[in-house]
Point group: C2
Chain length 339, copies 2
DNA sequence: CTTGACGTCTAAAACGTTTTAGAATATAAA
DNA sequence: TTTATATTCTAAAACGTTTTAGACGTCAAG
């Protein structure tokens, strides 16, 4: 069916290695035969068999991206989609396959192992890092090239690209306190993710900086998405002394909180202020538009991918560890407190 | 480095094929040796080398998804992200690799060929079909398994999953006309895509059904996203006799149109009504919330993928051609005309 | 006229797996 | 005792490529 080197070799009356080397442009093949071989290869529609090539070269020319859990594929999170588009763009440009698979959180580690040991990929991109991340530990121990999007809590001696989440949330807190708020609540994501942990730290730091005591009741942990944001906010608003500002740790949670506030018949930005994080497209389309921290998701994806690609090619890498500061975008979901 | 069959064979004192067959569970291996081999394989952390396996089997166990053009990776289109998540979920579950790559529209066809001829994938998923789609023609001529998301204009003798876009837009038009509108404009996508073409047809059919003449000036073609939607709507609103309703062919265009209307100081749903298509998450978050046609994007993705998977496994396929009707969701962007 | 170097090519091995054909042994049937 | 039949295994080949080592001329320098 498919044309092989042997077919070409038979046709031109040369050996298989000669054809191979001619096509690869080695200079131990006379220009005459080289040209002839290249011509017939093209004519016969030759395309190298990648599996054979990869088996031989022991290189996969592919990078692996294992998404967390089939269940909650995070594609509905626009931030993640954008990140992914950056990654795909880069790997595609570099001629690498991107092997995406979703693993159950339970056997995520096994999935990594299988990919590596089976030589299916040359390196990994690790997303959604945990504070103590077994995947990172495994990859590092086994000297497998990888770049993480996010850090661990400590022990961060590896390549990563990350946001400065703590700093970002501090900006939001500063902003709210400047507006006059003193009762700030936080709607948090699952805290074993480093990202979430850092953002929570930022919240606490921000309060501390302005001498506002941290109130445990004003801290609600939830899941990642709107629905949880709504529930968390409803809970906060039912407190005897409800907060006047809600710092949501991502935009989806913020949108959920906005809905909750509106359900209660209150006005967002007046009765209760809300901030988000990520600045997904939705943020400026929401009603009211959302004050949030802008992050260049697509660019972060390209950074991660490019870092890994350089590593694989053994090219010099600009910066092994990149921490990007988000920028506060003030819109209509925040305002002076009325009480 | 990696453990191979040979390593195991040496350890247990058997031949390589014996080990291979023992691990595969063939019954020409005695239970005793089979168990011993399986145990040592596990103990040594054996993972098969996929390239070798695939080279031998001449099967790729992978499906290809070639995205259109690097430039405008459609990840910012939430509908597409959702579709993709469905595809990934299914392929991942079926143990297939999903090879995603972005090809320039120019050499998209070459990219297909390379993937196929290089035996890198067993089948394809074709997205964003054109009215006359060279990719589909090529795949069909070469008897390469594939499933398309979308159809061609005619000659649709292949497996596909598609929306009933014409029917959907007709619902929107019906709705607007029932509200009392007679000056309906259409903000269209590039029309060489079958999807867009069909939706436009739906618009025309809808008008015809109610005896409203089609006015060329009320048809603006644009690109895919907000920005174009805004520009198209601005143009429409500047007409001597502006429309009272805008039928945008997707939600992003609709949101863009809404922005344009608001920029002009008019009220959406009163001065001008707007409808979208797809019902992306944004639609119910927008201000005002958007009347649109709901499509189960994730499910459509699973359908496409499952169809291809069945085809590859030579399992019976439920329905070779699926056309799903979207459902009209009426929200606040549509209302009675004031004039 | 030899020696060495160069230019052009090929044979053989290797990557790790699976398949095919058949060998070797044991067991049952005639 | 011989013959047929399982049972359990292995040798060899194959998948398509690249790499290594070296063969074979030809040519220039000594």
């Amino acid at each position: 069916m498919a044309v092989t080197l042997k077919d070409i070799a038979d046709k031109v009356g040369k050996s298989v290695p000669t054809v191979s080397r001619a096509l690869a442009g080695f200079n131990d093949i006379s220009p005459k035969t080289r040209d002839r071989i290249q011509a017939t290869a093209k004519e016969m529609g030759y395309v190298p068999n990648n599996f054979a090539r990869k088996l031989q070269s022991q290189k996969a020319d592919a990078v692996g991206l294992i998404l967390p859990g089939t269940e909650n594929l995070r594609f509905s999170d626009p931030f993640f989609s954008q990140l992914l588009s950056g990654i795909i763009e880069q790997t595609s440009e570099a001629g690498l396959d991107l092997s995406i698979s979703a693993a159950d959180p339970e056997d995520e580690l096994e999935s990594y192992i299988e990919h590596i040991r089976g030589k299916r990929v040359d390196g990994f991109i690790v997303v959604r890092t945990h504070r103590r991340d077994r995947r990172i530990q495994y990859l590092r121990e086994n000297k497998i090239p990888f770049v993480a999007f996010g850090r661990m809590e400590t022990d961060n001696d590896f390549y990563f690209v990350d946001e400065d989440g703590a700093w970002g949330i501090e900006q939001a807190v500063d902003h709210l306190i400047e507006l006059g708020h003193t009762q700030l609540a936080c709607v948090a994501e699952p805290i074993h993710y480093t990202k979430s942990f850092n953002r929570v730290q930022g919240f606490k730091n921000g309060l501390a900086k302005h001498g506002i005591p941290f109130d445990e009741n004003y801290m609600v942990s939830s899941r990642f998405r709107q629905r949880s944001g709504r529930e968390a906010a409803l809970h906060l608003l039912d407190l005897p002394k409800p907060p006047t500002a809600i710092v949501a740790l991502n935009d989806l949670l913020a949108i959920g909180s906005i809905h909750a506030i509106q359900e209660k018949g209150m006005t967002v930005g007046r009765d209760v202020s809300v901030t988000g994080f990520d600045d997904i497209v939705l943020a400026e389309m929401a009603n009211p538009t959302l004050t949030t921290l802008h992050q260049p998701a697509h660019e972060m994806g390209t950074l991660v991918a490019r870092n890994l690609i350089r590593q694989l090619r053994k090219e010099p890498i600009g910066s092994h560890q990149v921490v990007l500061k988000p920028t506060l975008v003030i819109r209509n979901s925040t305002g002076h407190p009325t009480t």
